[in-house]
Structures are given as C-alpha cells and as structure tokens.
C-alpha cells in the first residue's frame, strides 16, 4: 500500500473511466465521430455506442482561471457552481432534482483553461438534458441568496482541498512561485479573500465574457445517433445567439532566469517535495517526447525514479509527475513523498541525478518500447467507457484543436526517438528552469517561540 495524498484536482482530471464498446478490437483504436458546427458557432461531436443504454454529454467552455484578474481569482470555478443554481425554466435546486428523478446525474470541473459540464443519463432522459442545458446557457439567474450559500460551499471546498491538504497547499504555493506574470500563478479555487468578496456583478461579467455558444464544444457519446443529437441541437441550442469570445490572454510568462525555492512550515507527520519545470503548451510538438520521458522516469515500479528513490535508496514513499493540458506554456511537476524524518533535499539530489542520467546518455530501446506499451494501455483506459471517451474526445478537440489528434497519438508516440527524449530532458529539465517547493513538518512544541 502506498498511501500518499491525492488531490481533488488530480481526481477530477484523471477521472477516466471504464466501458465496453460494441465494436471489434480493431474498431476500438479508432472510432467514427460525427461533427457539426451550429450556426451560433458551437461545435458538436457525436460518437454512437449502443453497448449500454446510457449517454455521456460534455460541454467544454474555453474559459478558466487564466481568464481571471487579481481580486476575483476563482470566479470561473465559482461560476461553475452557480450554473447549477437556477435559470429561467429550472429554478434554484430544480436542475439537479429533475435530472436525478429522470435517472441522470451531473458534475463539472474547472481548470486554469476550461470549464467543463458533464451529464450522465439514460437515453430516455435525452430531451430533458438538452432543455436543461439550453436553459442555463441562455437564462442563468443570479439569486443573491444562492450566491451567499454557494460562497460557503466553495470556502469549504477550499478548506478541504488546500488548507487541510498538504499536497493541495504546496501545489498552490508552487504555481504562485513558478509564475510571476501569467495568470497560471493563482489557484483555480481562488484565494480565500477573493472567495469572500466576489460580487453578483463579477459573476454577471464572467458569464457575459465566457459563455457564448461559440466558445463551447459539445461532445455526446453513447446510445444515440448523430442525427437525433443534431436535431435536438437545432431545436434547443442553435437559436441561442453567440457573442464575442473572451479577450485573448496576452501575458507571456518571461523566461525563468534561475532556480526559485520556497518552504512551507506546517504541523505534519511527513514532509513533501515538489519540483516544477517550465514546459510548452499541450499542442507543442514536444508534448509526446515529454510524456515518454515522464513515463520512463515515473510510471510503474520499474521506472527510474521509483527504482532509485523508493526501492534502492528508500528515502521516499512515492514519486510521480503531473503535466496537465494547457493552452499556454505551463509547468511539469515532480512530486516526491519523502519518508518520515528524511530531509527533502536528499530526494531532490537523487531526482537531479536521475535527470542527469537521461541527459547524459540516451534511454534504452527496451525503455522506449515499454513507454509506448504503457501509453497504449492508457489509451484504452481513456476510451473504454462512454464517459472516458467523451472526456478524451473533448480534451483533444479543445487543447489540440482537433479531436482526430486522439487517433494520431499512437503514431505520434511511435515517432518519438531516444534522441528526442534526451533533447527534451536537456531543454526543459535544467536547474535555472525549476522551482522547488518543500513542506517541512513542524510540531506544536517547536513552533512556539
């Protein structure tokens, strides 16, 4: 058992899934997707799968915390919550009640880049779901009382995922230090003082900025035909007028000129270490080589970092990495959970030595092949359920500009060479480009002056 902290965040993004397609094995690697762009600019992608009588519907809005300003950080996420708190036809609390009474459920997540709404429902609830979605995109209400109670909910969410979660806390500090100009520096959930001070007008401005149909992509996967979805869209979604998309985020993070370090002192059983490196956005050609590098270093118990830190040196409980989809240049993060009493610097040194190893000489053929096999299995994990497929199709469409990139992923991974992996290690994973964050346990007695 390796029990390390798990962030809410990680759960939300990695909430991939499970399924069974009706097709043959060959079909599962590439499946037909029907597409249509509505007159108001919303793109709709549909994939039929009749293996279970259910449907997963995702709507990706290209708006997230990168579109925010200091003072109202977290407003995208707060707005996401408000999208469940009443519109014209379905008043406060009614959306969830009606949906669940008809066998459906829903959720949503907000990242730095996107806000994504998810509905999971039996086929029979399809017309209702479209009615609900059209109602809230078009006629969201802003009930002052609901805003106040929802403010409490979000504050509780922040207390859980940041204030009472060492991983969440250190992660927040890390981004805030790695970025000095770009909006990726503030947390998606928002600073607590901003949560306490958003106004109804801030919410209205956010809605006006981000929620044009032309700023959204809908993905429907499951027991449907493209024709019936397009017809429903024509009736319910297409009449909604579009307006200007959010203004472009023009701030460019200046190059980092030297290592940055930060420390968090907190009562804790175990220390924690995170190291961030600036890397390009998701649609950059180096994306695939970086992922292969991460796989070789971090994935599985045969990975270089696990073998070194957990198995051989026995200084860490766990070592992993994260690299989430991003429109703008972002960071890849290494996370090590040192064992009790181990100075995080010891883990840091071992990590740098292993990074040095992949820079000094190329990885082996065997490692490269292993990484490609692991990526293939991951592909199936992502697409084996209707839910996972909806999320994956949408993510490729939004972050790579075309859902078809999903089907090219295997080819793009296959094209990665040992030299590519060495090159990205040298290019991005250097000392001047890193931010190091450590949480150091501080017990009550020692904390007193």
């Amino acid at each position: 058992m390796k029990k390390t902290w798990i962030r809410l965040a990680t759960l939300a993004m990695v909430c991939v899934a499970s399924f069974s397609s009706a097709g043959t094995p060959a079909l599962a690697q590439e499946f037909p997707v029907a597409e249509r762009t509505l007159k108001n600019g919303m793109k709709v992608l549909v994939q039929s799968d009749h293996s279970i009588p259910n449907v997963s519907l995702y709507i990706f809005y290209r708006i997230g915390s990168r579109n925010e300003r200091p003072g109202t950080t977290g407003i995208s996420h707060f707005f996401e919550h408000m999208m469940f708190n009443g519109a014209k036809k379905y008043g406060p609390g009614e959306l969830d009640k009606v949906m669940e009474a008809n066998g459906g459920s829903n959720n949503a997540y907000t990242s730095q880049n996107v806000t994504v709404y998810q509905d999971w429902f039996p086929r029979s609830a399809m017309p209702l779901i479209f009615d609900i979605e059209a109602d809230r995109i078009q006629n969201l209400s802003f009930d002052p009382q609901k805003i106040e109670s929802e403010r409490g909910v979000v504050a509780s969410e922040r207390r859980s995922s940041v204030d009472n979660d060492n991983g969440g806390l250190l992660d927040e500090q890390l981004w805030a230090t790695a970025f000095i100009a770009h909006p990726y520096q503030w947390p998606v959930v928002g600073w607590m003082s901003d949560i306490e001070h958003w106004t109804i007008d801030d919410l209205k401005r956010h809605f006006a900025m981000g929620y044009s149909p032309s700023n959204a992509t809908m993905v429907v996967v499951g027991d449907v035909t493209p024709e019936e979805i397009f017809q429903l869209c024509e009736k319910t979604i297409e009449p909604i007028p579009s307006h200007a998309p959010p203004p472009p985020v023009t701030t460019v993070e200046p190059p980092q000129l030297g290592e940055r370090r930060l420390v968090v002192h907190k009562p804790a059983e175990l220390p924690l270490l995170m190291i961030a490196y600036h890397v390009p956005p998701t649609n950059h050609p180096d994306f695939y080589a970086i992922n292969i590098l991460r796989t070789i270093l971090f994935q599985g118990e045969s990975s270089r970092m696990y073998q070194r830190l957990v198995d051989k040196d026995q200084i860490a409980l766990d070592v992993s990495s994260s690299f989430e989809p991003a429109f703008d240049p972002t960071i890849a993060i290494i996370i090590a959970q040192p064992k009790q009493g181990i100075d995080p610097v010891k883990c840091e040194t071992a990590i740098y030595e292993e990074l040095q190893g992949v820079k000094r000489s190329t990885i082996t053929d065997q490692e490269l092949e292993k990484a490609k096999n692991i990526r293939l299995m991951e592909f199936y994990h992502q697409v084996r359920t209707i839910n996972g497929r909806a999320n994956t199709i949408g993510t490729y469409e939004v972050f790579d500009g075309d859902y078809k990139k999903l089907f090219e992923a295997a080819k793009n991974y296959a094209a990665v060479t040992k030299e590519d992996v060495q090159r990205v290690a040298k290019t991005y994973f250097g000392a001047n480009n890193r931010t190091v964050a450590a949480l150091l346990p501080e017990n009550e007695e020692k904390a007193k002056p």
Binding site: K3, I52, D96, G103, S105, Q112, S156, S302, K339, Q340
Partner: protein, 471 residues
Amino acid sequence: MTALKKCSFLLILLALIFPAALSAQSIHIPPHEKVVFKNGLTVLLLEKHGVPIVNFAALVKTGAAADPPGQEGLAAVTAQLLRKGTQKRTAQQFAADSDFTGGSVEADASADFSSVSGEFLTKDLARGLDLFSDALLHPVFPQAEVDKLLAQSLDGVRAAKDEARSVLGTYYDAYLFNGNGYGRTSDGDEISLTKIHRDAIVKFYETYYAPGNIILAVAGDFQTADMKKELEEVFGQWPSKPVTPVKIPVLPAVKGKKLLLVDKPEATQTYFAIGNVATAAGDPDRVAIRVVNTVFGGRFTSLLNEALRVESGLTYGAISAFDPRKAPGPFGIYSYTKNESTVQAIDMALQVLQKLHKQGITADELASAKSYIKGQYPPSLETSKQLAQIIASNEFYGLDDKEINDLEARLDAVTTAIAQQVIQKHFPTDNLVFTLIGKRSDIAAGVQKYAEKQDARVISEPGFWPPPPQK
C-alpha cells in the same frame, strides 16, 4: 493544475463504491461460465470483446479478519508482497516484466478477503497470465522486500493522518466496533506494523492461499474454451489443502451514545461521522435500504446534502452510506464543515435523520430514487475490470446473477410502507456513535452535548482505537 468540481469528493467516492443506474431498459450481467477445478479452485469466465484487454480477479476468501491480534495489516502486507519476488523473478524483474506490457498486477486485503488482480492487453495475454500466476503461486517473500514494504506501510499510515478526510473512516470504524471485528484496521497502524515478521507472512500465505479458498474471475477479450484450458494448465496442478474459514465476529449495534474527538490542532475544518453498526451483505432488505439511502444521503439532491450544502452552504458535501460485508458493517453519515459551524452542521444532520424517521419518504422521492438507481447502474457494468470484480464478489457473498438481473423488479417492488419499515429497522436514531477529527480547543465544548460517553485522542498518537495499553 487544479480542477475542481461541483460535487463533493465524498459523493464521487460513494459513486465509485456503490455504483448505482435507468428507466425502461433492462439491466443485466453478460452471460458467464463457472467451473470448479479438481483442486477446488472456482473459476468464472466472462467474455467481453471490443476492447483488447483481459482482466483477472482472484479473490482469496480470507482477509484481514485473520490477522492475529496486534498484527493488524498482516493480510494486506502478505498480498502486497506477492509480486515483490517470486521463485523466478526478483521484485525488480517482476516490475520490469509487468510494466513492459503496459499491464499491471495488484494485490491488497480487506477484512473479508484478500484480492489479487491483473490487467493486460490481449496481445500480451500469455505473458500476463504468467506474471499473474507467478505472483499467486510462487511468491518467496524476500526479507529485504518485507522490510521495505513494512517501512513504507508505516509511513503510509502517517501520511494518511496528515489528511483528516483520508482517516475519518478508519477512526470511525475502529471506534464504532471498539477495536474488534471491522474495527481492526486492515492496513495496520504505527504499532501493529512493527510486530509483523516474515515468518507470519509466509505462514499466512501458506495457510490461506489455497485453490479451494480462491475464486478466480477472468473477464475480457478471450475465448472461453481456450482460457479454460490455459487456466487448467497453470492452476490445475496447484495442490489442494484444507482451509479453515475465519469467523468474522458479528457485533451488535452500540447502545446509547458515545463520541470520539480526535484532535488535529492545525485543522480549520471538522470532519465527522455519525452512525452505528448496520447490515451484512445479502440482507433481505438491501434493495429497499439502497432506495431509502439514495433519498437520505446517497446522491446530490439527497436530504442530507440539500440541508447541509445546498440550503445552508455549511459544507462541500454530506453523504450517508451503508457498507455491508460478511458480518454487519457500518452505516454512517459523513461530512465536514469549518470549525465554527461544527455544532450547527451536526445538529442539522441529526435533524435530517429525525425527520426521516418521523416523516418517512414521499411517493415522489421514492419514484425519483428508483429512477436514479436504474439510470446510473449500467456504467457500473461497462468494463471487463468491473465485471471481473462483480462476479467474483457476488460469488463470494453468495449472491447470484439475480442480484443484477432482477434489480429493476426488486426496485419496483419497494413501496413507501416498506421504506418506512426499513427506516425504523436500519437507520439509527437514539443509539449513535460520533467520530470527529478537528481542532479540539475550538470544538470540544460544543460537542459535549451529543453523548454521555466522551473519548479523546490526538491524531499524532500511534494507532486508532482503542489507545494502546500504557506501559
């Protein structure tokens, strides 16, 4: 970085543990075959094509309930060590071979059973079966690996204690069952893990990992006839031996009220659980319980979540859950709120429970819950991994395919009158066990009113409940 969601973490967790799902369509489990080998191994085979993956799920019918007193964690550690060195592979070779396929072999133990699972691409099936069976049949438990894993498990418990929500259930179960039965933590604690030695691990394996004590479910992209033959070749020669079933103590519900406050001095939020000992798997009322609990605390619009989150904004989420096992398992209300509103939130949860008892559930709520369960059920039968686990677990708990195939009819048969009986029988009111993790200096005075019997611990003290004897 961060992505956040509207629904609570606990709700999501609940959805994963108790997959629910629809309206007019029928819910059914795909056909599967059962064979019992001569050595007693029960084999279940379920073909599911479409995704080129095969899943193995071996359920060893003995789990942490067999841990000797003071050696809690033994079953889990034994399971986790299966792939850390076999007769033909070192731990490192095993990891390398397994990772190379992109597949995995994992193992763990709960109180009722131990489990070993494997997942491989169809193209690597031969290699996968070799790895999976190697772990199950030929582990050698190298001393160095034993030492490493025990040290990691120990720090794993400490790491979990850094996050109140990840140990709330452990403290609650421990306190509810007073350290007996399901109150013994299957992962072990800071003391018990230091008492486990290699000899005990080897003995646990040799005693309980026997073909007659194992259900092996295989689901996915294979041909049944071929798979049966291959399994016969690999597992058919495994010598049988008698295994004495370990009796899991049936513990009665707690009488009266008691409260454990676990002090976490830096906490800004109180995490709480309230409930009592409830039902075992296979309880005749289980479908009606599921319906009532869906209304009470099993979905976003549940009475609990409506009150504590939607109406009042006190929390990000409030749920209730039954956890039926071989013997009666816990029922609990679980939520969290900032220190200052601890009493307000607990009062409110108790009021919702009282209201359920007084008013029962309405016909509309009943219909809505049935529709919700039916609508959300099919995705829980979507992957070969889910199917392998479900058929193995149903076989273990003595539940047949009707459990799934008749679910809709059984749901339809639940009336408001039946719901009322279930509420009186299975949802506690006067007898309640409270477990809170939070900042003692802020909340202790306010929560005294909930129970005559008050207990206290500090989270950094080793163990969960009861406190270790003083030297």
